[in-house]
Symmetry: D2
Subunit: 388 residues, 4 copies
């Protein structure tokens, strides 16, 4: 931590509103640096300028936390997905720490080292083996001296507990989140029970970070699309979230939240007492800026990027056309029901509902890309699922 | 031009498919560097790293043309919109040329200097005055030795002709486009007549570049959303295009084209004989990549960014979940009708239809942001328009 | 005509607003007395109580014209569609005249004898043969002394002319309508030319009756769904109208017009000068009542059925729940955008566009129901049509 | 009961599938004989031909039960809603019994006398007073010798129990239904508890009749729009059902179920063991015919009205156009996703959620139509409700 900066616990204990960052894998996929499917973060090593720039945009949008771009950056994942890829997890983790620190130093932000679920767990490896993977990542975070830890995107509370147990040994604050919904984890453990077990495992900040299409640990959010910080409307989702939508991941555009949806999300999160508010998949810098603008009074500060926006679209006062200028007001945007321009499309989808999880043969992870035989098998399974 | 690179005319004459870039103002607005309303490009000067990075992403996605980020970069526009802004047009134009050249040199791309419509014309300044503005921009382009010129985003053919007349004096190739639809320009000149007049004015490449929500000069596109390279579905638009949509510019998310829409657009453009295919507002790097992937066979090359994609989403073969792996195929994405997840929203909007243009008092441009009195006036005009 | 009643021409010449009736075949199909497919009116003979009751409901709703339920009631149609059916055209026409007269006598209504297009024409029979069919129907209408004639639902102006030429020999007023759209008749004769030819053929009332999904002869209607008196929203239709919609005829429910849509239709028709306003397929008695209520001031009378309605839903003032009572006002219903409750359905369809017509082998009519071989042939044709 | 007919209990005990009838108040409202708001059935007395015809259509469509058109036919309701109306409950009940019996005698149908909730209960009258009202109706049913009793459309289980206690004294079978959803009755009694209490009160047939927007007593229906026999899609409804939809009752058209939706409903009801299947608001004769056609094999009989239909639209084989003939098949209609033709409308609504019930001052019923002062009060309440 840069001298003079307050730590994450100090901030939260002081009642500050801490703003997290957005979704790196989705944003960088659209920019050409992350591959949908593997979703691995080797760009931190191969194209650092793209990762640095995205960190800068989130900082400028108001983020107080630069989370290292280390999602899925474990050796077992990189090997499984890597084909000819010769980059090690350590290389990615180190590069990601350096980039996050470099940009954090440019403003009032902390660096959080992130770990996430592993293919080893899904493939039924032992507790010792899985914990060794987290330990390897932690070693880099300690060497690079990140400010705190985030364990995120876990579908099984058991694996999340293992991650937390490893991370807490560092002595640094640990936040933990699961990508589960109101129906609980993939093994049927209820959401409430998950929260209890994570706290027992040693989480310092049981605050409402939530990733994927997931419910907030310890928080009950009622209103769609605000169940969770996902930047897509998902009223049609079931327990496995937006991954089961037929649109995932290449047809989600019509579901993207507007900045005004984000104002509502931020306000609601604040009202239920959440003080660490971040985003996940689909959150672009302008979404985070909207969170910061909504809470500008409470935080006593506007983000730098607001010089290019103005509250509630005030910049439109300088548009060429007078009728566009007339849209520079809060009630216009708050009341707008945006059309999709897609009259041949439905408004909701029928998500797939597989219900297979760790322990199911089809989820054993392997290095090879899917063979045509496997594909056939899956299509048969789908037909079966639909007919029941 | 870098030694050994072929010029734009050589490429087109050789039958090559040239791919343009995407929409800088919209992309940079979401990243926090452009203000919606003024839409001016001062970021080229103040935040060069953001502009450089976006150029790189388009290059990586397959663009053969780095257009200078000089949209609205004339002194009359910057002054009108600038408030405390002390940056001159020359500073912006110079910085933009340097950035475009720097990135063009990293690959097989040319640099195009761009000019666009001016507030002076809308405010009824003389031909001499308007031409002097274009000349000032041209001086920078000549000094920086761009490879060719683009005159774009003109609503009135008269002003476009003036721009072309100035630019052609440079001796460099000039492309020209208007942001008009099938109903012609804002003064009622038919689309065909506009094309004839631009060719007479000296345009070297009457090829189908088209910006805004506009029809392609000389090309008849029949199928929505493919009237024009706008990355938003606009079946409900009338003559002034997407600016008149109530969603413009902060609620357009549900209309964003998917990469698969772009495949269809690129194929159709190619089939009608277009060989210079670019994008405008809303085109992100992954949209340009989709154009390049669709035409990979014809062009004999895949863009660099396809290492992170694979044709028709092939990267999904390495996804964790088998049912997502089953989506790694062309027919899945071609046939998908993406839902919006917005069951409380309509699929189409009722656009405003003002029909005021140059010569109308309400379009005189001024430095001050809209006063509340003006706003009142506009709202009254809107009510009137709706009741007739 | 009952003594003391004014004829149709007298009424129109006096500037009265004459209200027609609604769609018998669609209404009786839902009540169980008409078969979709053949669409023949034998119920006038076999189930007179059902036809009498529907006449009464339209009379009560404000209709001034009881059109005989003789749509497709020609021997060639009945034979073609009749299978074991032993009923003759004369039997149906006579029964229909008696029912229309019986109910017309219960109020201020006239009786109109109706003829429509014939399978003989589609099967390329001669002018003499086709005219003989109309003559046979006319003989019954003369014997039963109807008040005037309506020739309706013609897709080819040539056949409509033949019908008018036969009917005008009766000396009674003749109204004529074609089921065509802005693109003209099925042989490519423009809509304007159709109107001219019908007037020349001897039509006394070139007033805007229009049936099927058709434009009004001599009248230019701009606003969907108001092109024509069809009681279904059809913004997605092409030249052959709602028959080409994939929903026709058993999935049209979500398109049904509300009574408030009818208020708008009636007002617009009145404003463009139409004084004979009726309905076609899908018009139920409450739709006609809405027309009569909208024009109550102009006509100086409310229909009998309004005792069970009240203008703009005033009856809701007596609802049990106070919040439903609050809906008893005009602006509530005028502004309502009714939801479909079908979030998995699109808002528009892709209509088929066959473009085959009289002269095409596939349109030769025959007595037998479609064979499976024919069905195969059609499905192949459809695939071909979609691929071009 | 006509000699030789089996009673309702005999039929059900023999495993027969009994088909009820559809929604009289909604159907007759559209035909011009019932006033939305009061919803009272005086037409049985004033326009018997309209009620007789509707009974006949349901009989023809396959109904085995002619329920007397006596919904809300109690003196307290008629007085409250009646204004100048001088008709007594006894007159309406007697006429309705005669009509139901007349048509039941024309086929294989029974007559069921129906009672429903009263304004007296809502206005907090005593058990004695409320029971006296039911007794008065029962006296007519006994005099007219109906075959069994139905107590339906109750929002409070207490009042339903009172009704059942009165009716069972007759010695005839009594069926009972409540118009409640999964959340229980308006006083918060759970749906299961309601069922238990009704059975204890003496209901002989705890079979799945259900009216309004209500759950079926003792039956768990999972799939929308099949929660209940309402002929409107209501995925957006909350506990008080479709009455709270902004479209109720004059803008529900786009929600109307197609005949194919009814096939699915009938099949599902049958599969969960229901053997008495009827419909409620919005059910037209063709909806009941669809139920009868779906269960034709199980019942060993097709309804008379199927002579005008054919299974799965087989009648289309005789349509003029070959491409419409190609729609005469089951898979076409089963797979169709019908469009609404309403691209400016949403697919779902935001229902009102009042939560006031018996005991709340605003629900005291009175004879006068709503005053403008009351209306103001309600609108204020609505605003309050929305802001919380």
């Amino acid at each position: 931590m840069a001298p003079g900066k307050k730590g994450i616990l100090e901030r939260l204990n002081a009642g500050e509103v801490v703003i997290g960052d957005g979704g790196f894998v989705f944003a960088l996929e659209k920019r050409g640096y992350v591959k949908a499917g593997p979703w691995t973060p080797e760009a931190a090593h191969t194209h650092p300028e793209s990762v640095r720039q995205l960190h800068r945009e989130f900082l400028r949008a108001g983020s107080n936390v630069m989370q290292t771009f280390t999602f899925y950056a474990s050796d077992d994942k990189l090997e499984n997905r890597g084909q000819a890829l010769k980059i090690t997890g350590a290389q990615v983790n180190e590069a990601a720490c350096d980039l996050a620190r470099e940009v954090a130093n440019e403003g009032d932000a902390l660096v959080a080292g992130g770990v996430s679920q592993t293919p080893s767990y899904l493939s039924c490896k032992s507790e010792t083996e899985v914990k060794a993977i987290f330990k390897k990542q932690l070693d880099v975070f300690m060497k690079k001296n990140v400010d705190f830890m985030i364990a995120e995107y876990f579908e099984h509370v058991e694996e999340a507990e293992w991650a937390v147990q490893v991370l807490k040994a560092s002595g640094k604050p640990v936040a933990a989140n699961m990508c589960i919904g109101p129906e609980g984890d993939m093994h049927g453990v209820s959401t409430g029970e998950c929260a209890v077990r994570l706290v027992k495992a040693g989480v310092y900040i049981p605050h409402p970070l939530c990733f994927g299409s997931l419910v907030i640990v310890g928080v009950n959010c009622h209103f769609d699309p605000m169940t969770c910080p996902l930047a897509f409307h998902t009223p049609d989702c079931n327990c496995q979230g937006f991954i089961d939508l037929p649109e995932f991941p290449f047809g989600l555009e019509p579901r993207i939240l507007t900045r005004w949806d984000m104002h509502a999300y931020a306000r609601e999160a604040y009202n239920v007492g959440i003080r660490y508010i971040g985003g996940c998949c689909g959150f672009e810098p302008y979404h985070i800026r909207a969170v910061a603008e909504e809470l500008a009074t409470e935080r006593g500060i506007l983000p730098a990027a607001s010089e290019k926006h103005g509250m509630w679209g005030a910049g439109l006062e300088m548009h060429t056309k007078p009728w566009v200028r007339a849209r520079a007001r809060r009630d216009y945007w708050e009341q707008l029901k945006p059309a999709s321009g897609r009259p041949l499309c439905p408004s909701m989808s029928t998500p797939e509902g597989w219900g297979v999880t760790k322990g199911h043969a089809d989820l054993l992870q392997h290095k090879e890309a899917t063979s045509s035989q496997e594909m056939k098998h899956v299509v048969e399974l789908q037909k079966k699922a639909k007919s029941t």
